[in-house]
């Protein structure tokens, strides 16, 4: 029975199949919202309300011609999309979606899984850098350099912002952190500043406007993805959507009380909470313009990092008061 459950956990929910379908849905949601905020229609044609558009796009890209540049490192260039996708899908397994219960800890819920998840979310950034670098295209190289430059800006504030709720909950385990805030909902408000910082940093991690600098179309064509086409590009796009789901799931776990209620209610919880987070991400995307890479770094270190430290200070003070 346990084996069957583990298999279902890996392959159906919340593993491969669910994440694939849900990330295409999230792409639709983001596109539709972005379009409506800009007074456009967004996808309407494929499926009801255009719901199947991202899936159609995915399969269309899979069928397109796949070109590897002559000078590119062929092995690296070809394996990166698959490796990146695997990393993001692994990260998804660590979210306490089905294994939220503390009484029956499963393999994927352990003390310190928060740190592992954060590192698994850092890896796609390196994948993007390597993808840009191994393409040997000028635009890709610049894109790759920008990916890393941006990483120095947002990574520290993100870690600080996500770790401060953990400090208050006195645990490095996602399921425990979520359970802590479910028991004392008022304490969620303490982390409000951290939530805003984390939202901005996640926006930067997902490379969406105003941080879509590494693949700024009007400046460096496709940026890191200039040379990617066909299947590889499709996998990269799926990877970015899945990364958005995982990042939104992480924020929902840490800041919004996780996803209690077993398979069905937990699913509803997961969908509602991640969509709320993604709503904010889309809102930021629609209301800002792309900034320069030097502005990202100075913004992150002038505002985000000090505020994240302030958040940590608040958390430590509150922790002293309640204990």
């Amino acid at each position: 029975m346990a084996t069957v459950k583990t298999l279902i956990y890996l392959i159906v929910y919340p593993g491969l199949l669910f994440l694939f379908l849900y990330s295409t849905f999230v792409e639709w949601y983001d596109r539709k919202l972005y379009a409506r905020l800009q007074n456009r229609m967004g996808p309407t044609h494929t499926g009801r309300f255009g719901l199947l558009q991202p899936i159609a796009d995915f399969f269309k890209l899979m069928a397109k011609e796949d070109i590897v540049p002559d000078r590119a490192d062929r092995k690296m260039f070809s394996t990166l999309p698959a490796v990146g996708l695997a990393i993001v899908f692994t990260a998804m397994l660590l979210l306490p979606v089905w294994n939220y219960s503390l009484d029956q800890p499963s393999v994927t819920s352990f003390n310190g899984d928060l740190i592992v998840l954060l590192y698994l979310l850092s890896l796609p950034t390196f994948i993007f850098f390597l993808a840009g670098w191994s393409s040997t295209n000028l635009f890709s190289t610049i894109g790759g350099a920008r990916v890393l430059t941006m990483l120095f800006g947002y990574e520290v504030p993100l870690f600080l912002a996500v770790l401060s709720p953990a400090v208050l909950a006195n645990s490095w385990r996602l399921a425990e952190i979520a359970a802590f805030y479910r028991q004392r909902p008022a304490l969620t408000l303490v982390n409000l500043l951290g939530f805003v910082i984390a939202l901005i940093c996640v926006q930067a991690k997902l490379e969406r406007t105003p941080f879509d600098i590494p693949h700024a179309e009007t400046e460096i064509v496709g940026g890191t993805f200039t040379e990617y086409s066909g299947k590889k590009l499709a996998l990269f796009r799926l990877m970015m959507d899945a990364e958005m789901v995982v990042a939104a799931g992480l924020l929902a776990t840490v800041f919004l009380g996780g996803f209690p209620g077993g398979a069905l209610l937990g699913l509803v919880n997961f969908i509602v909470k991640t969509l709320v987070v993604i709503f904010f991400l889309s809102l930021i995307r629609a209301t800002t313009s792309r900034i320069r890479v030097d502005q990202v770094v100075s913004f992150a270190w002038k505002y985000l990092a000090p505020l994240a430290i302030l958040q940590l200070l608040i958390v430590i003070l509150v922790k002293g008061l309640i204990s």
Partner: protein
Amino acid sequence: MKFQIPIGPQHPALKEPISLRMTVEGEIIRDADLRLGYNHRGLEKLAEQKTWIQNIYLTERICGICSHSHTTCYVQGVEKLMELEPPRRGLYIRTLVAELERVHSHLLWLGVAGHEAGFDSFFMYTWRDREIVMDILETISGNRVHYGINTIGGVRRDLDEQQVKHILDSLAILRQRSEYYQHLGTNEPSFVARLAGVGYLSREDAIALCAVGPTLRASGVPMDVRKDDPYAVYAEVPFEVCTADTCDVLGRTVVRIKELFQCYNIIEYLLKNLPSGPVAVRAPRRAKPNEVVSRYEAPRGENIHYIKSNGTDKPERLKVRAPTLGNYAATLKMLKNGFIADVPLIFAAIDPCICCAERAVSLVDARSGQEKIISMNALKQLSRQVAAGNARKREAEWPL
């Protein structure tokens, strides 16, 4: 590490082919080089084979955005050659269309600036509202892009009361929307962070490098053909020349938004003081031998047409200098020591219309400096020869 980045001839930031070669050090541009000649229009030669009337519709097709600018510039020159005096109502309508065109061009530019800065919401909103002015132009002339309203000696269509009312009603909406864009364009922090201080062009440089239009005015030089050398009815219409003193892309944005409001004032004045009478006079078919230079303030800057007649019903020579050409030298100056990220913004800030500025291609031998004219077939032959000489890296297989 210095390396060269080619922006163009094909690049997402460019809507038309031009080649900008940047020598960059990291993200900073150390040197910029501009290469023209990817479009050969052959338009000036064609003009010599068409009659004065036919050429109106030819010059209209120089540009899709400032189509009225080129026809007005041309028609004014021809009217001088033929010593014609167009009726005042005709001139009022001509000016009205010119100002509406400026509104649509500036709204278009605002959208493009938003898009180049990655602010796509701004782009979608401005282009939606640009439809209002396009609709006005359609009610006046029947066309959205090439209005075909000018003719030698006046305009081809009259306005009625209903149209005037429609324009005034739509104008109220446009004015309201433009106020919103003014607020957004000068206050949205991430947008202003991208515009302010970018593409600096000092007042002295702007004059020395012969910048024109909003680029020049944003460097604090109040130069506008409509004021300095009034044509049509600008001498009797009250308006101000808009300038900015920040000398950067933000200044160019502000100048264009300010000009939008001036345009609305001018349009309102024109409609309220529309004189009665005919809209055109009859023009002769031939012009006496003479030559004339016609100036016009297009939305992008000063547009110049030189026309020479030889007593027949066709011009002997028509020379067009589009405003974009005047701004290229200044652009190179602005690009130096900027960031790669700012290239599309700086280049878009001159509101380039590359095809308008291109005329003919002359082949120059890089070693001897010798110029020659070559036929199309010979050029094709040459390119095949060069291509055959290049060693191919891999035999490409055609998939079908």
